[in-house]
Symmetry: C2
Subunit: 340 residues, 2 copies
DNA sequence: CGTCGTTTCCGAAACGTTTCGGATTAAGGG
DNA sequence: CCCTTAATCCGAAACGTTTCGGAAACGACG
């Protein structure tokens, strides 16, 4: 391994001056700097990340802990997240440690272990729950971390989309089309994004001077089979909804299947909207008719997340803190005016 | 942060002795060791991984570089690999760095950068190509690494399955059922596993005293649409095969689709076998009729890969080096005797 | 000629750990 | 009572880097 000492010996300079020359400090002669750079190149010098980490307290490594889920469909999101995040961190020169926890492991403990052992500068937290203990632990330890999503019970740096708007805009769109009995398929009440979306739905009803009690909110795991089951139940109920809003495209997939099984045409017999995360890696599934609703590419989130974490880690770098990502709306062909 | 010095001050011992006590060395009094352990617990001491890494030269971090692919179906394998590997490394206490390269990045260079910066003890290489430059680079630098698969042109530690047997057993099974015109869908000739499988196929023909020229070998990207396209071409050819062997279940999926489009019943009009990697995360797709062929759970590979790499990194630990994983065969319901 | 500021350099300490070589003590054997 | 041995302990150096506090050289200025 080539070290600073090797360069200094080669040039007859002190280690200090070599370090400062390569580090771009001011008090080093332009001539010397050039010589040092040349020698470093010639000898094949690479700064040792571990030694630097020991001295500076920063290792350039960030980590994310995920629990090893075994539900296949949720994995689609996870892969998108892992690949997207990793690519982004790699791009900005941070190394990304992925820790997949055993099903029975305590993830809070894992965060502590990773952080207290040193060598991890910051963390990414995804899918925060209400009063998420991971967030509490990281805050307590004074670790740098960015949450994708939000936990309303704790203050933390986050990157998120405007979920209130997600609920409001899709509901508003359907109300304008004359729908009144709208079913809303979303995650459980313990997630902030779900509560926000429901709040948006209620606001839309109120804005139209309507009673939100006409809407049916269903909380469920957001994967296709669950969506199909829930939609099936809804569609065979006496007062069946004329429109269904799905929290993501996996749920929407289930709704489409249920509609087909019930012999209902979309959008003629049933309107469907969904929020679309625009997954890049699993975009193979296309909808017929093409589905409408809000959209916000998940891939964009990682740029913000990585950027934000970097600025938290490197004090000299000033960048964005909290970030709310833009939201789009596509009409699609899955919703139609209702005349009931 | 609590350091050894803090403990030593607290107990009136030397840093040396505290280190040796916690490190489990011999020349420390049983009493003292107990006191040191207690103090460490009481003060909340956590050994600093960076400092230890600087001194010992080992950081406990391993890395894998993958190129950011955009073909959705190949991602299924990738997720399985990433999650499986990461879980296994996490389990044995090594941190796993995932580096997703930009599409235009030089992966050889990335391996060099990661290794020469220090702080990476070893690497995992997957999907080796013929004369893979990554393997050459890692060997040249003297880095520890394990390859999943094999590059026949270079000597390296590997974990693999017996691909010769994969080709031989599936072909043999079909030949016993009376098939003669067998199509073999596999990857390109630049992969060792594919060449081995074809060699196995030829051996099976020879063992039956038959000319392997009756078989059709098709090299293609191993994803469903390609399988469908290739199968479609084969099935509309004049001398259409009576059986098709698919290199993985994705290809088999395509073959099933093509058969359906051609109005062919499996197994009556067409026998199909496939090698099954038993992907855990994307096992949702079931085959009707259930597909037969060889199988070897990919998930098992990671245990071996991680174990092997660990023994290469930690000199005291003795473990397995090369490893050929066991291979199974399931009859399924997708192949039937042929009377042509 | 002494003082001051600027430019360019360097020694030494520090980050937290491991480990080499030796020091101290007590017990046991003659 | 001295010598050897074993059991415990410790100081100091080292890993490669960054950085604090100065030092040397030099010209400018009064």
């Amino acid at each position: 391994m080539v070290t600073l000492k090797d360069i200094s010996r080669d040039l007859g300079l002190s280690v200090t001056q070599v370090s400062r020359a390569l580090g771009g400090h001011a008090d080093v002669n332009a001539q010397t700097r050039k010589r040092v750079r040349a020698a470093a190149d010639r000898l094949g010098y690479r700064p040792n990340a571990v030694a630097r980490g020991l001295k500076t307290g920063r290792s350039g490594i960030v980590a994310m802990v995920v629990s090893g889920t075994r539900t296949p469909e949720a994995s689609a999101h996870l892969l998108e997240i892992v690949m997207g995040l990793s690519a982004e961190f790699s791009r900005i020169g941070l190394r990304f440690v992925l820790h997949v926890a055993q099903p029975d492991e305590d993830t809070v403990r894992l965060h502590e272990d990773l952080f207290l052992a040193g060598g991890i500068d910051g963390f990414i937290v995804i899918s925060p729950q209400k009063s998420d203990p991971r967030i509490a632990a990281l805050t307590r330890m004074g670790a740098a971390f960015v949450v994708h999503g939000r936990d309303p019970d704790q203050a933390h740096v986050h990157v998120d989309i405007d979920n209130f708007e997600v609920g409001r805009r899709m509901t508003d769109h359907l109300l304008r089309l004359g729908h009144r009995r709208i079913a809303f398929l979303t995650a459980g009440d313990n997630t902030f994004f779900s509560r926000e979306r429901v709040r948006g739905l209620k606001r839309a009803y109120a804005d139209h001077g309507l009673d939100a009690g006409m809407a049916r909110v269903v909380g469920l795991p957001m994967i296709a089979p669950e969506g199909q089951r829930a939609a099936s139940t809804l569609l065979s109920s006496k007062q069946r909804p004329t429109a269904i809003i799905a929290g993501n495209t996996l749920l929407a997939r289930g709704v489409y299947r249920a509609a087909a099984m019930h012999g209902l045409q979309i959008p003629c017999d049933l309107s469907v909207l969904a929020h679309d995360d625009d997954l890049e890696l699993f975009a193979t599934d296309t909808f017929d008719p093409p589905i409408g609703g809000t959209f916000a590419p998940l891939s964009q989130a990682w740029v913000s997340v990585a950027d934000t974490l970097q600025t938290m880690i490197e004090p000299e770098k000033e960048g964005l803190k909290h970030r709310i990502l833009p939201l789009g709306f596509q009409i699609g062909g899955s919703a139609k005016s209702n005349s009931d």
